[in-house]
Amino acid sequence: MRALHWIIILGYVFLAALPLVWMGLTSIKHRDDTISMTPRFIPAMHEPQNISGPLFEATTRAYHQLADRFFHYLFNSILIGVCSTIASVALGTMAAYGFSRFKIPGAKDWLFFILSTRFLPPLAVVIPIFLMYRQLDLQNTHLGLIILYTAFNLSLAVWLMKGFIDEIPRAYEEAALVDGYSRLAAFRKIILPQAMTGMAVTAVFCLISAWNEYGFAMTLNQTSDAAKTVPVYFAGLQGQIEGVPWPQVSAGALIFVAPIVLFTVLVRKHLLRGVTFGTIKQ
């Protein structure tokens, strides 16, 4: 029985980690080795044509060769991700505080309306948004995607933050109000510091979903590269398989997913809450 446990666990860990490990290996391989008919598990240390050449030259080449374009897209991803995250956490925290502490007519209906926007298939609104953006000249702009991702992540931010704010005892604020604080001051000086962890966790989830978003980024950046994000760039390589420069792609993809891996490690205790909109707490 114990052996069975370990076989299941280790076997699955192996399978789960394999694509990322393989990605790391591919990124330090010579191009020909990535599409050879016999698998190459250990990357060659030398250039195949130049055995006496410097060690590791071939292995780090993909990283040196990463096109400027990739870093342009990476910069777009960072800018759009960070700005939309700040906006959705700020708006989400305010709305969550409102729903948590005040009596609001139809509060439950509003909350479920907010949640339901998350279930809307993005493609169901993509055409009207595309037309709207064309009218407003927001196509191919960072601002356009920032607005869109903020709206998209708001539902998650409100629900997660409401869970966190509900857990802060009301007595703290009441004491502050008795001491003559205004509501706003109580929110700033009592609630915000207490909700910091929650805001950080919410920010990570918003950042990850903005970072990974593909559908809208692709639709709204068809005519220019100015605000294209990394997923659009990578997915666009599909279909030209023989021509895909796999070492560079792997190097780029690895740089792109590394922050996500780091953030996953940081919020691991709150993952359950994040993926269930704060409805399951542990």
């Binding site: 980690a17 990535t34 989400g92 493609l123 708001l154 593909y214």
Partner: protein, 316 residues
């Protein structure tokens, strides 16, 4: 309760200091709406408004290449329902959702059972297992092309080394959907595991002890205690996953492209009609039909969530 300003003071849920009375009440009303309104306006502008716009579009013959369009009644809807491609994509989507969610549930539950006990390195193992679901489907989907490739993909090379058949995952029409399910399972099994694990951990140990005293077999304990007590959370996970899988688009785009008949999910077909063929009216009708399907599922989810919340409230 009137405070002379014409605004009704909401009854306070807590015993707030009422000494300053009306002034605080009025400023509270302003504060709460200025806190909530931006979010609601944002969501209405970017969700409700586009939806209404789409409904209007769906009754016209609008086209992205020309500005002129006119009212055509229910013609678009008639075209959608008489089109075999639409029926085919519903079937593809249903197969995809059914197989990926079922496999993810089974695998995730088995993993959760194996991970329930404490052991050395559990945190590390759990974290590694959870990483795939946080990664970008578009980027990882592209990368899976390399792994699944029929001739130089590492999966087939390993299969070949073990003298097993080497299927052409990404080019054989009958296998493409299976390849998509495989990648989806790789990505989302951790999600099921995470929720199943929460369900297992919530079962108090004394119930198992009582079962042991009653000499229930392990199988009996599993069937009569573990399964029923995990069921509500598992159902929640299945609903969440199903609504998500229903929208699957990124993986399809990255692995087979939007116009592959064997993997054309609803989202991919919608993309093809609207952004490749530029038929806005038709795609408007399409998205409304897709939306109705998703809403049906989501409303089940929301109602279930509500019931779950009530029950939790009762016990805690």
């Amino acid at each position: 309760m009137s405070n002379g300003t014409g605004l009704r003071t909401p009854p306070y849920p807590t015993s707030l200091p009422e000494g300053e009375g009306t002034r605080r009440a009025t400023s509270d009303v302003i504060l709460k709406w200025s806190f909530i309104a931006p979010t609601l306006i944002f969501l209405i502008a970017l969700n409700i408004f586009p939806l209404l716009y789409n409904i209007i579009l769906s009754f016209t013959n609008a086209n992205l290449s020309s500005d002129a369009h006119r009212f055509v009644g229910g013609q678009n809807y008639a075209r959608i329902f008489s089109n075999p491609v639409f029926a085919q994509s519903i079937r593809t989507t249903a197969l995809f959702v059914f197989f990926s969610v079922t496999i993810e549930l089974g695998l995730g539950f088995v993993l959760a059972l194996a991970l329930k006990k404490n052991f050395f390195g559990k945190t590390i193992v759990l974290t590694v297992l959870l990483i795939p679901m946080m990664l970008s489907p578009a980027v990882m989907g592209l990368y899976w092309n390399l792994i699944l490739n029929g001739s130089y993909g590492v999966l087939n090379q390993v299969l070949g080394a073990m003298h097993l058949p080497q299927p052409q995952w990404t080019t054989d029409p009958s296998l493409k959907l299976i390849a998509l399910v495989m990648v989806d399972v790789w990505m989302w099994t951790p999600f099921m595991m995470l929720i199943a694990l929460a369900g297992l951990n919530a079962i108090p140990n004394y119930i198992y002890e009582a079962a042991e005293i009653d000499r229930a077999s392990r199988w009996m304990a599993f069937r009569r205690i573990t399964l029923p007590m995990c069921a509500p959370l598992l159902l929640l996970a299945v609903l969440l996953r199903a609504t998500d899988a229903l929208k699957q688009f990124d993986l399809v785009m990255a692995i087979t492209g939007p116009n592959d008949p064997s993997t054309q999910t609803l989202s991919a077909l919608l993309y093809q009609v609207s952004l490749r063929n530029l038929q806005l009216g038709l795609s408007g009708g399409f998205s409304i039909v897709v939306l109705v399907i998703v809403i049906a599922l989501a409303s089940v989810f929301v109602r279930y969530l509500d019931a779950l919340g009530k029950r939790q409230g009762k016990f805690s």
